[in-house]
Subunit: 196 residues, 2 copies
Amino acid sequence: MIDMSRVTCYIVPMSLRHGLLDLLAGEPQSGYDLARFFEASMGNVWPAQHSQIYPELGKLVAEGLITQVDEGPRGRKLYQTTPEGIDALRTWLRESPPDYSVRYEALLRIFTLWVLPTDEALAYLERDRAEYRRHLAQIETAIGEVEWSKNPINRGARLTIEFGRRFYATLIEWIDWAAEQVRSGTLEPGGPLPTI
Amino acid sequence: MIDMSRVTCYIVPMSLRHGLLDLLAGEPQSGYDLARFFEASMGNVWPAQHSQIYPELGKLVAEGLITQVDEGPRGRKLYQTTPEGIDALRTWLRESPPDYSVRYEALLRIFTLWVLPTDEALAYLERDRAEYRRHLAQIETAIGEVEWSKNPINRGARLTIEFGRRFYATLIEWIDWAAEQVRSGTLEPGGPLPTI
DNA sequence: CCTTGACATGTCGAGACTGACAGGACAAAT
DNA sequence: ATTTGTCCTGTCAGTCTCGACATGTCAAGG
């Protein structure tokens, strides 16, 4: 007899695989394309290295969720999502609960900023700010360059990209505020409470 | 001879350990406290389960970065960060490059929203919106309840919490915009391009 | 008395993820 | 001719992370 009281696990992370299924639902792409595209768009909410992408593509082919539609120069393999793959995406959205948790190391570090002297903390925030400006610029470039109107897939992606834009704009506004607080001595002993 | 051309790795993730070092730098806390606190504050940028926290506390004690300062009822163990632990935090901030990547599964899903019919996509966004409102409310409660003025540690945490507040406010504004786009047929074949 | 539920600490196996390693194809420049 | 650089696919060891499992304490209420 199987002890059914023990069988309580239904968790299905596998975010990467669903990201890939989405990206391969439009134009066929290679693992190399995907790795680069991840950097620029989906990578803003779910980063992935090629070392993780290639094995996953293999599994997806084995399960019939994508197929290799062509082979280009230098062994370049082009994949595309099958109808079964699209079904898998639909099931994923419908059946599994979203994971609303956020992981952001760069912000975790701000918690610890009090261990640095004020001037060093300010320099730290300045470096972060520059990074955020880069991200914002990159997203705005993407918004300007890609043909979003093409199909529902691209227009759907445009929705998320728009969040990216607002996200980095908010980050920059926030970090300016934070720098102002630090400048006024918040991180020093007996310093003032941050004010909104 | 060691082939130095191969020694190129310096990566130090270990975010959790530094999160714990920060949290234990003020009032002594137990693993149980930390697990609960993670949910409410640091967990907004770096979630952690107790099953990961307890072993990490053991390692930190072994390395002398925290010490057990007291034992309460029910075997409750109270830890506090040592001066060496604070040094480790400072070194972390100074020597290791921040990881600016964001992981957010709930937003990854929005990429794929086009596989659902418009009405179902709208219901999906509505559920997300409710979730974001919950998070925002929780953060605003935390802002109102905690004594942020106490010390630099708490005031530093207040900086990050403030970002959480703005983050969820931005999410809600964005999702209202996204729902409006979906309502106007963006995810249907031949639908309009999202407009800002 | 005994059940229920919150408090509290811990382990474990499996899967996710990373950086490093490895190697081949093709184009352009030297 | 050969070097350099980008393109392109892949593997692997080690770490991180999670859900499930396991165990025990204490207080309150029935």
